[in-house]
Symmetry: C2
Subunit: 168 residues, 2 copies
């Protein structure tokens, strides 16, 4: 399925349909969202297996990952950062609370808002799965040097800024 | 949540746990899979809405996208390229067949294998949703020049090659 495409992928077309390249012209292999979907499908599937062995789900892992680097967050913030729908996040937090991995505290100045934070037990649980995640990262980015890796994440930050800017 | 990390993300640690950086040290914003998951969640959610308006699902769109650039594929190949589980792909093909968007033909030298290909109607249906996909790509990669875009997809190709190499 490797294709060569010598034209320009990101062609500014000013809304004129005829100026858009077709998917056939670009080639699937030059269509970044397609490539990212393929990579992330493997990343998520590979990790899900390992998480199951640790009695953990993808949503739980994501919540713990985010909470392990943030002091405390509301459920709304957590849903966005952990890329999990709010209803799923709500159920996930109930389960994590039962496991003693997180705590939820009403904010003193607004009792309707509850701040979620990670417990020492939660931190320990995340530390158990972190080596798998990190080693999977190393395998996926094998032979890609730090400079290229930095350029890659810099582009991703620009994309996330565009998503925010255009409210996508 | 922006974090600065001046160390090396991709540290080769030769299995010694103590040499792995923690997620706190790296920072979520320097962890590429996290960033890709956030980008793709928005891409997929945004597109799903638009697809629905065209009576199309994500799986259907992916199948048509892949088939529009390949002459014909087996269901196995199609599942991989379209990043869709085989059972889902099987149901998706039934639906696409009913809509007249694809055809399935037993291979003459091995009747157990059926080759899937796109019809003219399928091609027309994909062409209707393509402008949305392409314009979403342009928005997401706004202010990212062609050179940076190429470097980005080149890194993604390396990652996919590593996935294949390590059978991830």
């Amino acid at each position: 399925m490797a294709e060569r495409f010598l034209g320009v992928v990101l062609r500014q077309h000013q809304g004129e349909l005829k100026n858009r390249p077709t998917i056939g012209e670009i080639g699937l292999n030059h269509f970044a969202p397609y490539l990212m979907n393929r990579v992330m499908a493997r990343w998520n599937a590979h990790l899900a297996e390992d998480l199951k062995a640790h009695g953990m789900s993808t949503a739980k892992m994501r919540a713990l990952a985010v909470l392990s680097v943030a002091s405390s967050l509301t459920i709304n913030e957590l849903s966005v950062f952990a890329v999990t729908e709010q209803s799923t996040m709500s159920r996930t937090l109930d389960a994590l609370d039962e496991q003693g991995y997180i705590r939820r505290q009403p904010r003193t100045d607004d009792m309707r808002i509850r701040d979620v934070s990670i417990t020492e037990e939660g931190r320990a649980a995340f530390e158990k799965i972190w080596p798998t995640m990190y080693d999977l990262l190393l395998k996926m980015f094998e032979d890609i040097d730090e400079k290229e890796y930095r350029a890659f994440t810099t582009t991703l930050h620009k994309v996330l800024a565009n998503i925010h800017k255009h409210d996508l």
